[in-house]
């Protein structure tokens, strides 16, 4: 193979393909956001509109809603490529699969995670969070949502070959999300008590770094199993 195409080019081409496809079909970006908004709306209706109560449970609600709406896009992450055969081409190509997988995960995050991070201030206002907690919410979402994409992609890769993988995938992935949920919500909690929450962010960052390195390997071997 000639070195005409660098690894960087592979990364950008896979990434831009996924993002362009998503932007052509706006619903893929808008639907998880709407879902996020609706889940958040349901809680005050179910629990009651007292501002103090909402403020107390806001971190948990925002994060659970974020988990659920990331799950929505995950099923599509490899499904279309699997169906039209381009996933097989990626596996057969001489380039490392983990790299193209990394690009796909980043694309998934750009499509579902990033809009959530950008919209987070609005959601935080809906839930009556004050400005300190608002910063923490945005920061935890910024570090946490790529982590969700990475872990979720493992589950998506394992179930892509199955007819009805969606529900099974959530069963596989949600228990693995628990540490992210715990640290993210506790960071928001501590920040609303105006304490330093750098520790939780650091742990989230460490988990993201580990996931960045390990998850692509797991995802690519899972994809090889699913496709074969």
């Amino acid at each position: 193979m000639t070195a005409q195409h660098s690894y960087w080019q592979l990364f950008t081409s896979v990434y831009s393909k996924d993002v362009t496809l998503a932007f052509r079909q706006r619903s893929e970006i808008v639907n998880p956001l709407l879902f996020f908004l609706i889940v958040i709306t349901l809680f005050p209706l179910a629990i009651g509109p007292e501002p103090a109560l909402l403020k107390r449970i806001a971190p948990g609600i925002i994060w659970v809603a974020a988990l659920l709406s990331t799950m929505l896009g995950l099923d599509k992450l490899f499904r279309d490529d699997y169906n039209d055969g381009s996933l097989e081409q990626l596996i057969a190509s001489p380039y490392p699969l983990s790299l193209s997988v990394l690009a796909k995960v980043f694309a998934h995050w750009t499509i579902t995670g990033l809009p959530m991070v950008l919209m987070a201030p609005m959601f935080a206002l809906l839930m009556n969070l004050d400005s300190q907690a608002l910063g923490a919410t945005v920061l935890t979402l910024l570090i946490g949502t790529p982590l969700l994409s990475f872990i979720g992609a493992i589950g998506a890769a394992l179930t892509v070959g199955l007819q009805k993988g969606g529900i099974l995938m959530s069963l596989l992935v949600l228990p693995l999300y628990i540490p992210v949920l715990i640290f993210a919500t506790s960071a928001i909690d501590t920040s609303s008590m105006s304490l330093a929450y750098g520790g939780q962010l650091a742990i989230l960052g460490a988990m993201l770094a580990v996931a960045c390195v390990c998850a692509p390997i797991a995802i690519s071997s899972a994809l090889k199993v699913s496709v074969s």
């Binding site: 493992i154 199955l162 099974l168 069963l171 628990i178 540490p179 640290f183 899972a222």
Partner: protein, 246 residues
């Protein structure tokens, strides 16, 4: 160094090894289970604080220990299966998973039955209980992933990958849950320290742990034999074996 292990990668040898090991595990299980339960239920002295309710410990602690032990052995088998591509190790993963799930379920049920008289609630969001529950989810995930695949070969490999991912996450989950618990409500149970236990209670506990370990061994071997037969059902040696009426 690995030479003596190599033959066991062959299904037939592994099957025979299962047969050889089975009686030992069976004897340990039956003897220890009978002795341990009778001793634990009838002869061990009552605890001065918890009275007779503490007798649940004789099944709660062994099942909790074995639930984690089974997961680690499952993960080791999964790593072996993925790295060296040994089919028998994959089968072992599938054989252990239901046993481990049963152990986890026992630990949870007995924990709840012990918690009700002691803490006044069937379930408290204690760190250990929560991580045990998550462990059950991980087991169920491996099992349902395996059963979702039509092709058992890729099913085994997928289950192995999930088991390895789970075992990497397990310490993180355990640590985070413990940390979450101390943050939210403070420790609810006094730590059960083995050195603090009187030998009249320690011995039946140890015997029960041996009994549960033996049970996990026996059932895993039975299930492993089934899996081997299932996967080699068209081979001549299986036919010969079944033809002999074994």
């Amino acid at each position: 160094m690995w030479k003596w292990l190599h033959p066991y990668a062959k299904a037939e040898r592994a099957y025979q090894l299962c047969n050889t090991l089975m009686p030992y595990f069976a004897v340990v299980t039956v003897v220890c289970l009978v002795v341990g339960w009778v001793w634990g239920l009838a002869y061990a002295p009552a605890d001065y604080q918890q009275k007779d309710s503490y007798r649940i410990i004789f099944i709660h602690v062994p099942s909790a220990i074995l639930s984690m032990g089974a997961y680690s052995s499952m993960a080791i088998a999964a790593v072996i299966a993925l790295v060296w591509q040994i089919r028998n190790a994959e089968l072992a993963v599938i054989a252990i998973a239901p046993v481990g799930a049963a152990m986890t379920a026992i630990a949870l049920i007995t924990g709840a039955a012990w918690g009700k008289p002691m803490w006044g609630a069937w379930w408290v969001w204690d760190a250990r209980l929560t991580s045990e529950l998550i462990l059950l989810f991980l087991y169920l995930g491996v099992l349902s992933l395996y059963h979702a695949f039509e092709d058992k070969k890729s099913a085994g490999r997928a289950a192995c990958i999930l088991a390895v991912v789970g075992v990497i996450n397990l310490p993180i989950i355990h640590f985070s849950v413990e940390w979450w618990n101390t943050l939210h409500q403070g420790a609810t149970i006094t730590k059960f320290d083995t050195s603090a236990i009187d030998s009249s209670m320690l011995w039946p506990l140890l015997i029960n742990i041996a009994a549960f370990a033996g049970f996990v061994g026996v059932v895993t071997l039975i299930r492993l034999k089934n899996e081997i037969l299932q996967c080699e059902r068209h081979r001549p040696w299986v036919r010969e074996l079944v033809g002999r009426g074994e």
